[in-house]
């Protein structure tokens, strides 16, 4: 899949970064009552849905009460995890000084301890977005979601693993920061993760006690209905969160990167990588709220700490900026974006796996695959050597991402000479 991203000169990248910084500064200056009222209203709605849902399930032997209660509880968990929890934990409301809206204090209604999420998501994923070998959101350590991940027979089960991950997503997320695959290979000792495990256990215990022991027992004769309702609500939230999150970075057209080409990025380059690696979803206001505004994944990755309900208005400016720089702005309705993710899950179950362009892509990217397979964390010297040797192989990514050129010579004095060279490389390898 050839990249459609243009090559930007260092000057363009800097100007591009400044335009995005300006958007950020303007929104930050405008933060106020409107934002606090929004999040507080959402919290009230979520808590109301939760109380109503659990209350209705007490009468769960009546089918309409069971359906209504389960739906309300599902919505409550979705709102709690996505628009409220995920966004508050990014520190989007830290400026309010309200302890209840504090990113470091917030805990959410899911199995993953907030503290571990803040590390694996806020830091690892958001700083190293789509860098194969660093961003563990690429496949969660169990799926093959990148052509750069070398194929093994294990990956024949890709669609099955994806279905399991989607169904038990809250536990997948809870185990995310454990790096179980590195424990399995012996790279990490289980003992190193003991503290983390006991935190996960404490959180899972609290969640299980509430959803599968206390509320069912308290409901007396409705026990089986409450149990089923709570399990359904958790499953619904799991499937929904998986769907939205996998639409963020894996639809057709999103790009992935190597550690080498992202070394010594400037802020403009970092913005550019976030943009090329993320994809949006189109939909109505309610859809965006239920998606935690992760349907504006691009804006979220550019400005992870701005209140997410602002992304809709910001997206107009971001897409306009992208148009001016001819940067692809990846967006589409849920069914087509998720459809392309599902196709990718199936495609990558097999060796190679870039569809019609698989062969070309295989040839072009094989040096990168070598680098990645060396462990995904290859010493940079080795990575650079491979990159330099590969010549045409690197040309594709060189053209696609200005970051690649900056790894060799930071965007300083050789601008004039490097510009036409890169342009030539671009025309030579496009298609």
């Amino acid at each position: 899949m050839p990249s459609t991203a243009p090559t930007l000169t260092p000057e363009q990248l800097e100007a591009f970064g400044q335009e995005l910084d300006a958007i950020r500064a303007r929104v930050v200056a405008d933060l106020g009552q409107r934002d606090v009222d929004y999040i507080n209203r959402l919290i009230r709605v979520q808590r109301g849905l939760e109380v109503a849902g659990r209350g209705l399930l007490f009468a769960g032997f009546l089918p309409p009460a069971w359906l209504g209660g389960t739906a309300a509880l599902s919505l409550s968990k979705i709102l709690d995890n996505m628009e409220i929890g995920h966004n508050i934990m990014h520190g989007q409301y830290d400026w309010t000084g309200d302890e209840r809206l504090n990113g470091k204090a917030f805990e959410w209604d899911t199995a993953c301890p907030a503290e571990q999420w803040r590390h694996s998501h806020n830091y690892m994923h958001h700083t190293h977005t789509n860098i194969v070998g660093k961003d563990r959101d690429i496949g969660y350590g169990i799926l093959r979601m990148s052509e750069d991940e070398p194929w093994r027979p294990y990956y024949l089960g890709n669609p099955l693993y994806a279905a399991l991950l989607a169904s038990f997503f809250q536990y997948g997320v809870a185990l995310h920061d454990l790096e179980t695959e590195r424990i399995a290979t012996g790279e990490l000792a289980l003992a190193e993760k003991r503290g983390m495990l006991s935190d996960i256990w404490r959180k899972v215990k609290g969640q299980t006690l509430k959803d599968y022991v206390l509320f069912p027992i308290l409901s007396g004769p409705s026990l089986p209905f409450v149990l089923a309702g709570n399990a359904t609500a958790n499953l619904t939230r799991n499937l929904w969160a998986f769907t939205i999150i996998f639409c963020g970075h894996f639809p057709d057209g999103t790009e992935q990167f190597t550690e080498e080409e992202t070394e010594s990025e400037t802020r403009g380059e970092w913005y550019y990588r976030q943009l090329l690696g993320s994809a949006n979803l189109t939909g109505g206001d309610l859809f965006h709220i239920l998606a935690g505004n992760l349907s504006f994944q691009i804006e979220h990755h550019l400005f992870p700490d701005l209140p997410a309900h602002r992304y809709a208005e910001i997206s107009l400016e971001v897409s306009e900026i992208c148009e001016r720089y001819a940067i692809p702005y990846n967006t589409g309705p849920l069914h087509s974006q998720f459809g392309s993710v599902v196709r990718k899950i199936f495609r990558l179950a097999l060796p190679g796996g870039s569809g019609p362009t698989a062969v070309a892509r295989e040839a072009a990217s094989s040096p990168r695959a070598v680098v990645a397979s060396a462990n995904g964390r290859t010493s940079t010297a080795q990575g650079r050597a491979a990159a330099l040797e590969s010549g045409t192989g690197r040309a594709k990514s060189t053209k696609a991402r200005p970051t690649a050129t900056t790894t060799k010579g930071r965007p300083t004095k050789d601008r004039a000479s490097s510009k036409p060279a890169r342009a030539a490389a671009a025309t030579g390898t496009r298609n």
Binding site: R24, G32, Q33, R47, G91, D94, T96, K104, Y123, F215
Partner: protein
């Protein structure tokens, strides 16, 4: 008073309301509302009925002077009471942002139902004071900290008490005076009370009333920019005989602007007397240069201090041998977010300069401008 408070609390334990409270505070309720906790649900319906947080409802608002507002507060059951002279942190939300400021309640520590009286004087730059003057209404809920500070009367009470206040500094000494009167204190009390003018003088009528009722209390007022007062000009040794027979040996409490405190201290030092108890809430003047490399950075939780090197606070903390949590080092991930208790910092990403006490900052992109204290 104390006995009455206790008996009402005992009655509360068996009333329906007391049972409700006990149920809400049970570990079962906590397990059912995991992980948010029962307060996060109850507060949406009953904002004062909380297990942990101290909050208060404004029950009355009056304006004594054109530049002040006097609020009566009813704290919730988590309030542990105060000693006259102590201060509390009061939090209000202004345009979505929570601001906390210290105020010394002016009421007696024995006030019925634990009610607090706050008299807030407005300053042109005072965001919170102006907000309270303009917007505080009965029914407003504010956040409180527990009472703090050691500007308090000794227990048992001293034989003779001398109070000296300037401007809005009247509030903690007013609390002491009212408390002593409630306790039927029989010793001598002298009170030198300075204000800019009669128009801006606080608690004038009440001081007259108290003086009429207590012959061992004498109050003298001085207006530094107006006429019609017993005393002329600012505080000086000559003012003391107007209110007290002999100032040496009297337990002395001074609250007001730094200049007043300095001149009282000078007199006491000259007479070879022990330092009087003092309290001031006037913030030190802002001073910073663009290099920002001045002042002391203190890490309160670990008890370390270092001279400000002008680097981001995360690096200064690491240079001081600390290992704060951190992630991206570029202001993105919020891992290093930490509470700044006092001081001014500039955010390197936004260029924003912030001075608010008790705010969360990302130390990887914040440089101190002058003295800064972090909860690290």
């Amino acid at each position: 008073m104390v006995a009455r408070a206790q008996s009402s609390r005992l009655a509360g334990a068996t009333s329906p309301r007391g049972l409700g409270r006990r149920l809400l505070h049970s570990s079962l309720a906590e397990a059912l509302t995991f992980p948010h906790g029962v307060d996060r649900y109850v507060e949406l319906v009953r904002p004062l009925l909380l297990k942990r947080d101290v909050r208060a409802e404004v029950t009355a608002v009056r304006h004594q002077t054109p530049k002040s507002v006097t609020l009566t507060l009813r704290p919730n059951e988590n309030w542990r009471g105060l000693q006259a002279g102590q201060f509390v942190g009061v939090s209000v939300e202004i345009d979505g942002v929570r601001h906390t400021r210290p105020y010394s309640p002016a009421g007696s520590q024995h006030a019925a139902g634990g009610a607090l009286e706050l008299t807030v004087s407005t300053h042109p730059e005072g965001r919170v004071s102006r907000h309270l003057r303009e917007h505080a209404r009965a029914g407003l809920i504010v956040g409180l900290t527990q009472a703090q500070g050691d500007f308090v009367l000794a227990d048992p009470r001293p034989d003779r008490v001398l109070l000296i206040s300037g401007g809005s500094g009247i509030t903690p000494v007013m609390a002491m005076l009212r408390t002593l009167c409630d306790e039927g204190f029989e010793g001598e009390i002298g009170f030198l009370n300075y204000a800019r003018s009669r128009e801006l003088a606080l608690y004038g009528a009440e001081l007259d009333r108290l003086t009429d009722r207590n012959e061992r209390l004498s109050v003298a007022r001085g207006f530094t920019r107006g006429r019609g007062a017993k005393l002329t000009g600012r505080f000086c040794r000559e003012h003391l005989p107007a209110v007290i027979s002999e100032h040496s040996g009297a337990a002395t409490f001074v609250c007001g602007p730094p200049a007043l405190i300095a001149s009282v201290r000078a007199v006491w030092a000259k007479d070879g007397l022990a330092e009087p108890a003092v309290e001031t809430f006037t913030p030190a003047a802002l001073s910073f240069d663009t290099d920002g490399a001045e002042g002391i950075v203190s890490f309160a939780a670990s008890g370390r201090e270092a001279a400000n090197s002008g680097l981001p606070l995360l690096e200064q903390a690491e240079d001081a041998g600390l290992a704060p949590d951190h992630g991206c080092r570029m202001g993105i991930c919020n891992t290093c977010s930490c509470r700044k208790t006092t001081g001014t910092v500039r955010n390197l990403v936004t260029g924003q300069v912030s001075t608010a006490p008790d705010e969360q900052i990302r130390i990887c992109v914040s440089v101190p401008l002058g003295d800064v204290a972090l909860d690290l």
